[in-house]
Structures are given as structure tokens and as C-alpha cells.
Symmetry: C2
Subunit: 266 residues, 2 copies
């Protein structure tokens, strides 16, 4: 039994969807979330800068005495994960490998789509990891740069969003993918619109759900579950407490007891 | 007469619309454009960082022996312009004041809309400068965060774009503005869609056009016009020569003789 909190961080607001899913699956745990909203987006930065920023956040979380850290950010997961894993003495879990594993488990026709930001798709990280385990799988990749601003405008199921989904994903539908990896932590907020577009016939693989399963497994194996009987707490930190962050955290977590605080990395 | 080039820079690709307009109005001039595409967007960065980055670009342009520099970036213009003007010995022109001046000249009903990115609108810079000259003018402001990604996806007049315009600007239409300041250098690419939405009844004030008039005036007063009789050249530099930059520069400038080169600020 271990009552220390779990740390979760992202370059911005997207990781809140991961936090939400973890909270759903591990309700008795305490969570500390850091969003580096003053320095978002990480996707355009060099690897050394990304690793430096991530280390600053990890140091902050370690001071808060977390028992495990989830890197709820595709850019950090694909650039800096092995460095972070080697440097910190708590388990560090990224968002990419759990998503890959779940996609491989779920696909039946072995025809899988991957969507993400331009930098994630350009890195081909998901594709590489999937093909490493199954050479014969058919993979379709598509960058969807409009999805993040649409989510940040809270247009989760708006007619604009439906047009954007059609524009980006009609080829995936034509190719009859049966599994779609949401390679960006913003995208789970488009679940309803995506399900409608695919008529519910495609498995949507969200980082939040796949990571939560992995975390649950580690807590179980290492006997790190909290012994708390009541609901755990959520504490949010952001390097810029802008309207965007407040808005999305309200919408995503729909929990008014969440504490919110400014953090500085200067 | 002065055959030195004119320098133009932006945090990314948006300033290309300013370059295009300057080229149209001053065809015999040579232009050097710098887009800091590796470090875009500037809007989320601190003022000191923005000034540092802008100075690095200005130093590069000075080494290229430019006769005048246009800061084709709203973020730099609103944060660092007076510092840059005082530090460099060539004329330095930002995008905000020329746009304000042209809007004041053009409006008849003194009912003006201002659109831009979240950081530009939050700064209220355009509004302040307009009101300083005419206290009775009615100003409506609106951040339009979807417009930049729509432009970068080349969806200039797509049904998605039309829906976004309607969503953001129907209040402006209801208020019967007669002048709209495009407070972001990406937005002139939406001119056709905006004109259709406003049925051609609203003056669209683009930075490119208003800045070009100011530059023309300075060149004339200081006798700095090029003596060239043929078309001048365009040389583009970008800190990341990504697909986005190549694509937009092709579309915006539609000139295959443009030279393109990588530049590093490390």
C-alpha cells in the first residue's frame, strides 16, 4: 500500500484526457498534473530542449513525492522517454507503447489507422513500434492539424468538426480500418464525432485508457495501490493559468473540487 | 537611389502575405524574408525571449545590408518594436500602426472590428491605438484561433472555413461594422471567404497593404527607392524548411524564381 500521489504531465492541456481516464479507473488515487502551458507546443522544439523541459517538470513532481509518473505527452514520450526512465527512480510510463499494445490486441483485420499532430505523424513512431511486432499489419497514417484547435475551441461535435473529420479520414473509412490510434491526447474529446463518422465500427485507441491499464498493472505488481477508501484528490499545476487551461480542465474533469495553481520553471 | 534589399521577417509563414503585397507595390525592390519556423509560435513566449529572437533575426538582416526592415509579425510588433527601432540604424516598421491608420482612414460609420490570434486580441493593442486617436469609435474584438490552422491547411475558401467565419463573425455582421482589421498576417489569405461573408460591404484592412503604403512613403521621402528597371529578387530564409513553409511560400508568392535557404540561430 502506498498513499503517495501519481504524477501526470503534458506540454499543455491534452494530457487532461489521460488524467480523466486514470481517475476513472483508479478512483482512490491522488493525482498531481502539470501542464507546461507557458511553453506549449513542444512539437516544434529540439530534442535537447524537450528533454530539459520534461526534466524540470519531473524534478517538480519528484519533490512532490510521487510514486509513479505518466508522461501524457506524445512529443516527450517519443523524444525523451528512455532518458527519463533511466534518470528517475520511480516508474515512468509514456503514452506511445501502451497505445501500440492495445491497438495490436484489438485489431482483427490487421488494418490500423494512426492520427496525430504533424510532428507525431512525421516521426512514424507508432508505425515503427507496431510493425516491429507485426510486419504484415497494414498501417495508414494521417496528420490532422485542425483537431487540436477544434478541441481547444470546445467544438467537439460541431458541424465544422464533422467536416474536418470527413476531410481527414474518409480514406481510412474507404480502406476499412478496424482500429484507430488516437496519437494525440486532445483527440479523445472527439470520440463521439469519430464514432459517428465510423458508425461505431472502429476501435478508438486512446492514450488515456491504454496507459491506465498499464499503470493499474504496475501498481498491482509492485503493491503500490493507495489504501484510501474514499475518492482521491486532483491537484493541477500550469505554467500559464490561461482561460484555455481553465476552460478545458473544467470541461474534461467536470469536478469542481480540483485545485489549480500556477507553477514557474524560470 | 539605393539598391540594397528590404528585410522582412516573421515568426513563421504569415509574414509572406506582407512580402507578397510589398512585392506587388514595390516590384523593382529586392527582398530578403526570414521566417523563424523552428521557434514559431512567438505568441506564447515572454517579452524578453521575443525581443532576443527578433534581435537575432534583425542582426542577420543587417549583415545582409538591408536598407529598411519590416517586422511582419504582430507579436514582435506589439512587444518589441520600440526597442528594435531604437537599437538599429535603419528604419524599422511594424504591422500594427499602419493597420490602425488605414482603418481610421477607411471607416465611415466608425464601427470597426478587429480579429487576430488569442495573444494579439488579449493585448488589446489595436484597440488602444485606435481609441487614442478617436475616443468615440466603436470597436469589436474577436480572437479567431481556427483561422491560422485553416490557412496552413490551405483551406482558404473551404466549407469548413466558411462555417468558422460564420461562427466567429456573425456578431460583427449584426453590429454592421464597415471596417475589419485583419490583425494576423495569415488572414489575408481568407480575403475571398471574408468578402463573401460580408457581401463585399466591409473594408478589409490587411497588414501587407497598409505596411506597403508606409514603406513606399519612407522610401520616397528618404530617396531610398531602387534604381532597378527590371523586377527585383526575393530570397527566403527559414529556421526550419518544413513542408508547411515550402507549401505556403509557393501558394502565396506563386513565383518559382524565389530562392529558399535554411538559417540557424543557435
Amino acid at each position: 500500500m502506498d498513499n503517495r500521489p501519481i504524477g501526470v504531465f503534458d506540454s499543455g492541456v491534452g494530457g487532461l484526457t489521460v488524467l480523466k481516464e486514470m481517475k476513472r479507473i483508479l478512483p482512490a488515487e491522488n493525482f498531481i498534473y502539470v501542464g507546461d502551458t507557458a511553453r506549449v507546443p513542444y512539437g516544434v522544439k529540439s530534442r535537447s530542449t524537450i528533454t530539459k523541459f520534461a526534466s524540470q517538470i519531473m524534478d517538480f513532481l519528484m519533490e512532490k513525492d510521487v510514486k509513479l509518473i505518466v508522461v501524457a505527452c506524445n512529443t516527450v514520450s517519443s523524444n525523451s522517454l528512455s532518458y527519463l526512465k533511466s534518470r528517475y527512480r520511480v516508474p515512468v510510463i509514456g503514452v506511445i507503447e501502451p497505445g501500440v499494445q492495445l491497438a495490436l490486441d484489438r485489431t482483427k483485420n490487421r488494418c490500423v489507422g494512426i492520427i496525430g499532430t504533424q510532428s507525431t505523424i512525421r516521426s512514424h513512431k507508432y508505425k515503427e513500434l507496431i510493425i516491429r511486432q507485426d510486419r504484415k499489419i497494414r498501417i495508414f497514417e494521417k496528420a490532422c492539424p485542425l483537431f487540436v484547435p477544434l478541441v481547444e475551441e470546445l467544438l467537439f461535435d460541431h458541424s465544422i468538426t464533422r467536416l474536418a473529420i470527413k476531410g481527414y479520414l474518409q480514406e481510412f473509412r474507404a480502406r476499412k480500418i478496424d482500429t484507430l490510434v488516437l496519437g494525440c491526447t486532445h483527440y479523445p474529446l472527439l470520440t463521439r464525432a469519430l464514432n459517428r463518422f465510423f458508425q461505431g465500427k472502429v476501435n478508438l485507441i486512446s492514450s488515456g485508457y491504454s496507459v491506465s491499464l498499464v499503470v493499474q498493472d504496475i501498481l498491482s505488481k509492485k503493491r503500490l495501490f493507495s489504501g484510501r477508501r474514499k475518492k482521491g484528490s486532483i491537484h493541477l499545476y500550469a505554467s500559464d493559468l490561461n482561460e484555455n487551461f481553465r476552460k478545458l480542465s473544467r470541461v474534461v474533469l467536470s469536478d469542481s473540487s480540483v485545485k489549480m495553481q500556477l507553477i514557474s520553471f524560470d
